[in-house]
């Protein structure tokens, strides 16, 4: 009675071949739709540049493009870090304040010890950011409070810290004249005509992209964001991974602070104010789902470049600043709509195939 009624013979080789053959098609489809997503941003970017150049040919002048890349560099570094956090179904709203704190700390270090090598200054700024990220990460991972709330709190706390420091040190502003020449030259430095700060941002994006794609802990970040409970049941140390994402994001926000100091060379306690929403917008426009588990750092970087270009191009088209905000808003909505549409289409296409085969 306990007799197993089924004795399935070994499957035939042809049957085994089937999943593999169709497999390539299925994966190609998925891949194509994701590429479409990033190409979409690129197309919007190209369109914007073409329209602007027609209206104002000087838009593509060397200096203008370099300024644009410099602005984009800071936002891109922030977006790369934010992507790691959003992928785990968290968000870090404190990055603008972390940028401000790191920029001010780096500036202070360079004023107090002008002989500090640039590399040390960069590492110091990143360390300040990493400590801020650690604070965020520890609270999020241990207290079980949503990161939105935690980092909203630290947004004000870190900014308050900068103000407190600046007023107690009686140095509300750091001017270009106070900074050592070696550091200032970093802001304008170029390699083959490309601003070095932008190359730094590109390097960060490539590194984070490589990490997320090819490292086990990078893959696990996507698992955590996609299904936190499943990740836990699979034995992934969820708390530790999320903490790491916050620390790395903090360190990158710290790096962005150093880039900010090198670029603007005049620092006060408001550096980076309001950047957090711009960063999240860049990531979302770039296809990083706010619910976690999907999106790439390359998309986020393209999103950052697009938002920066909008900010630079629209005034040059003679449009009121209001239109810039409206355009960013419309873009976010369009990105969300596009993602939803692609998702539905992908699901429908794959389901359609399954239905055909299941019959």
């Amino acid at each position: 009675m306990s007799a197993p009624t089924t004795r399935t013979p070994a499957p035939l080789p042809e049957e085994l071949a089937a999943p593999e053959r169709t497999g390539r098609r299925g994966s190609a489809l998925v891949h194509r739709l994701f590429v479409v997503r990033e190409l979409g941003i690129l197309a919007a970017l190209v369109l914007l540049v073409v329209v602007t150049v027609i209206a104002n040919p000087r838009f593509l002048s060397g200096q203008n493009v370099r300024d644009l890349l410099l602005s984009a560099a800071i936002l891109t570094v922030l977006a790369a870090g934010q992507t790691m956090v959003i992928v785990t179904r968290n968000v870090d709203l404190s990055v603008g304040s972390v940028l401000g704190l790191s920029a001010y700390a780096t500036g202070t270090l360079l004023v107090e010890a002008p002989g500090t090598p640039v590399v040390v200054a960069v590492l110091a700024g990143m360390a300040v950011g990493a400590v801020c990220g650690l604070v965020n990460g520890v609270i999020v991972a241990t207290a079980g409070v949503p990161s939105l709330v935690v980092t909203l709190g630290t947004l004000y706390a870190f900014r308050g810290l900068v103000s407190l420091w600046a007023s107690s040190a009686d140095r509300l502003q750091i001017n270009a004249a106070d900074l050592p020449a070696g550091f200032k030259s970093l802001g304008g430095a170029r390699l083959l005509g490309v601003p070095v700060l932008f190359l730094v941002a590109v390097a960060v994006v490539l590194l984070v992209g490589y990490y997320l794609r090819t490292f086990r802990s990078g893959r696990e970040l996507y698992g955590i964001g996609s299904a936190p409970e499943a990740a836990r049941l699979s034995g992934i140390p969820v708390g530790r991974r999320v903490l790491t994402a916050f620390v790395v994001n903090g360190a990158l926000a710290g790096l962005a602070g150093v880039l900010y100091a090198a670029r603007f060379q005049t620092l006060d306690t408001t550096a980076g104010t309001g950047q957090e929403l711009f960063v999240v917008a860049a990531a979302v426009v770039g296809g990083v789902a706010i619910f976690g588990g999907s999106g790439s750092v390359y998309g986020a970087a393209l999103g950052a470049l697009l938002l920066t270009t909008i900010g630079t191009a629209l005034p040059q088209l003679g449009l009121d600043p209001f239109w810039r905000d409206a355009a960013v808003g419309a873009l976010i909505l369009a990105a969300i709509a596009l993602d939803r549409a692609l998702q539905l289409r992908l699901a429908a296409r794959l389901r359609g195939r399954n239905a055909r085969r299941d019959r």
């Binding site: 999943p19 998925v30 996507y222 299904a227 836990r232 049941l233 699979s234 992934i236 699901a347 085969r357």
Partner: protein, 268 residues
Amino acid sequence: MSAPTDRLENGTPTLELRGVNKSFGAIQVLHDVHLKVYPGQVTALVGDNGAGKSTLIKSIAGIHPIDSGEFLFEGRPVTVSGPRDAAALGIEVVYQDLALADNLDVVQNMFLGRERKNGFVLDESSMEQAARDTLAKLSVRTLKSVRQLVSSLSGGQRQTVAIAKAVLWESKLVILDEPTAALGVAQTRQVLDLVRRLADTGHAVVFISHNMVDVFEVADRVAALFLGRMAADVPISQVDRPQVIELITAGRSGDLGIAPADVAAVEV
């Protein structure tokens, strides 16, 4: 084919639980639970909603620490303090809610938390090959692509992936929590075949189900939980369907089950 039941009854159980107690705060969910699970056999774990079946298997998997009691794995006492410990022993669990990550593809899900590495980086091609081999070994042919996102799969396909994930590893004990709930007739058929094949390839299998037809078709032993107490853990040849239902709903049937005094105590 009831032979294996009697033949293997005397062997060492793959897993044996002795006197397991487990409480959530003030509520005791498992009371002095004993259970034996044998290699090459399907043990059906049955019990009403809330009887403690899922809690029991999460305790075995190290998700919930137990308050007291003993685990013996292949006769050796062991402590399991997390999913990785359980996996290291060769225990794999397919959870009731499947625990799959929708945004990841089939291969990524099958290796979630245990990805293969080639040096420092992920070894994608070896993982893909292993996933494909496992699905082939299970004679799974309904899946289009191992690179398909899990969100695009049907309920039965998701179930298949969750089971394949458990089988992928050199596992000795596979636990399936209601693998056929929410499945259609054809897909239930496939999953039951799979469960049977697992036992036939030497795994010890624990199969949780509310469906008596499925239980009697596929199981070699039946273990009935009643309000957190093990009412019976016997070869299925010793019970019939009405008896199992009585064990589930009343905690005893004939000479089987918890002592009448205990039942009364539990019911007040």
